[in-house]
């Protein structure tokens, strides 16, 4: 990294910042932010080029997006501190204007892939370079419009679009498989004609390789609440804000995990 920090340092700091941001503002949605953060960081630091576009269709991971943008210098620290405050641009879901790096307001699920398809098709019609990456959740595939978009992007051979699914297996009020059965998702995507690969959504090397590799769809198998023991794979962390003791424990766990990780590497 240009400022001397390793990618692992950036990931560690981003995860802690994401926690603090949510704790200080007293809001939830942490589970799906933590499952998506590695994907966002890999995309922004190791995959996206100057002509590429990223659309966060799972807008409830706005916190992870804002933090990721801050690691790239696209959002300032002062701006991050405005998260969820009155008068902020940094609302609970990405806003339609005012943050240059965010192309579309999202938050109602099932919009992003169609928007990405429009941008990808537009790039092709104009002969412009670059790809469009779009991150959806897995519960989002309950929305019929996602399947409309999937058929559209395959029909129009949008090979400049990469669909990423943050497959953490949990959604608003139940397990994804119990609410509306989604699996086998890779087979379904492949059945549409989309080259699809599945990766560990917390393995940075595998993730970045997959996102660079020319696949049409990358299903990132993730853990909701990744990195915090009492949040991992627990539906309630779609909603709950952190209490002080929980926040302190979460910080200890994340710092400990990073220390362990560093020790293991060395």
């Amino acid at each position: 990294m240009s400022d001397g920090r390793s990618f692992d340092d950036i990931v560690r700091e981003a995860r802690l910042r994401l926690l603090r941001m949510h704790y200080e503002s007293g809001v939830g949605h942490l589970g799906g932010n933590l499952s998506a953060l590695d994907i966002l960081l890999c995309a922004y630091h190791q995959v996206l080029g100057p002509d590429d576009v990223f659309i966060l269709s799972k807008g409830h991971a706005a916190g992870a997006l804002y933090v990721t943008l801050s690691t790239k210098g696209l959002v300032t620290d002062d701006e991050l501190r405005q998260f969820h405050k009155d008068g902020t641009l940094f609302s609970g879901h990405p806003p339609p204007s005012g943050i240059a790096a965010i192309p579309f307001a999202t938050g109602s699920l099932g919009h992003g892939l169609s928007l990405a398809s429009g941008m990808a098709l537009g790039k092709k019609l104009k002969g412009e370079p670059g790809r469009v990456l779009c991150l959806t959740s897995d519960g989002e595939w309950n929305e019929g419009s996602c399947w409309e978009a999937l058929a559209f992007l395959v029909t129009h051979r949008l090979d400049n679009l990469v669909l990423i699914v943050d497959a953490n297996g949990l959604q608003g009020f139940g397990r994804t498989e119990d609410v509306l059965r989604l699996e086998p998702l890779a087979e379904k995507f492949a059945g549409f004609g989309l080259r699809t690969i599945e990766v560990d959504g917390h393995n940075h090397e595998a993730l970045s390789r997959a996102l660079r590799g020319g696949a049409g769809a990358v299903i990132a198998r993730t853990i909701k609440g990744k990195g915090v023991s009492f949040m991992e794979d627990r539906m309630e962390w779609h909603y709950l804000p952190l209490k002080e003791a929980q926040y302190l424990q979460a910080v200890r766990e994340l710092e400990g995990a990073c220390a362990t990780s560093s020790a293991t590497r060395s």
């Binding site: 579309f104 169609s114 429009g118 098709l121 537009g122 409309e148 559209f152």
Partner: protein, 301 residues
């Protein structure tokens, strides 16, 4: 009106930024446009939600997308996509709804758009264009390529009588002059009403205005003068009263201190008998046909 719309767009096909999307509609009508646009003519399938968001994405990269379907399929099914993806971002997408009001007649209520512009005008940045005549479509199509905001274009069937001289296009136009009451109409049904009115003697003949853009620009002084002289105004539209031109104009006139003594509104009433029929059948049931409008206007003003 649809064929004039198509021909006007074919004339614009050389614009490199022009992209046309259809929700799998246009058989026996849009084929010349498809031929003219090539890859920039996109049949997005029976998937209006995706079509509208794709249009937003296309506009985001600097293209000028027009998205077309039967009016209710275009505005009601993808309403959230219009709100979030097009209007929140103030993108220059033209949404074209064919068959506004009871335009699809006996096809039934699923194919009617009785609350389209009222619903859409609750959204930020969006403008509505309601051509009354084929001639309006030609002017509007050229203008809409320069419009920097989202647009809903409500197409119908031109009903211009041969006897009616048409003034140049403007958002507010007086089509018929007389010494009678004042009538404002939105939409193509003004043609038949104006055609019937020109046969009346000058003393009873109403001043008939047509309004074609919403939110409307301030009415011209001549309109206020007509309302003031008659001290009465009737508004007619093929749209439900809620969110309609009648409510908008009444509020405006009240706010300006220009409200006449008498204000009447004739609007779409849904399905009065519970039966279905042609556009004329439904207009008649709602009292929107020329005979009902003029009889009420002249005998009670």
């Amino acid at each position: 009106m649809r064929n004039v719309f198509r021909d006007s767009l074919v004339a614009q096909a050389a614009r490199p930024e022009f992209v046309f999307l259809t929700g799998d509609l246009g058989f026996m009508a849009l084929e010349p446009l498809r031929a003219a646009l090539g890859a920039r003519f996109i049949n997005a399938g029976v998937a209006e939600q995706n079509m509208v968001s794709v249009a937003a994405g296309l506009a985001k990269v600097g293209l000028r997308p027009w998205a077309y379907s039967i009016a209710p399929f275009l505005y009601a099914r993808p309403f959230e996509q219009i709100r979030n993806d097009v209007c929140f971002h103030d993108l220059p997408v033209v949404l074209v709804g064919n068959g506004g009001g009871y335009g699809y007649g006996v096809m039934g209520g699923t194919h009617h758009a009785l609350g389209d512009y009222g619903a859409l005008l609750t959204l930020p940045n969006l403008r509505v264009f309601i051509p009354a005549f084929d001639e309006d479509v030609v002017v509007m199509v050229g203008r809409l390529f320069e419009e920097p905001h989202p647009v809903y274009l409500r197409l119908g069937v031109s009903e211009k009588p041969a006897s009616l001289g048409l003034p140049p296009y403007a958002p507010w136009r007086r089509l018929v002059r007389g010494n009678g009451p004042c009538l404002l109409v939105a939409g193509p049904l003004v043609g038949a009403i104006a055609g019937a009115a020109v046969a009346l003697d000058e003393e009873t003949r109403p001043n008939i205005w047509v309004l074609s853009e919403l939110p409307f620009p301030p009415p011209p002084p001549e309109f206020h003068a007509d309302v003031r002289r008659a001290d009465s105004l009737m508004v007619v539209e093929e749209h439900v009263a809620a969110g309609g031109v009648g409510a908008m104009l009444a509020l405006h006139l009240l706010g300006q201190g220009q409200a006449p003594r008498r204000f009447r509104h004739r609007a779409a009433l849904g399905y009065v008998s519970g039966r279905y029929g042609s556009q004329q059948f439904h207009r008649h049931e709602c009292g929107l046909d020329p005979e009902s409008v003029l009889a009420d206007l002249i005998t009670t003003s």
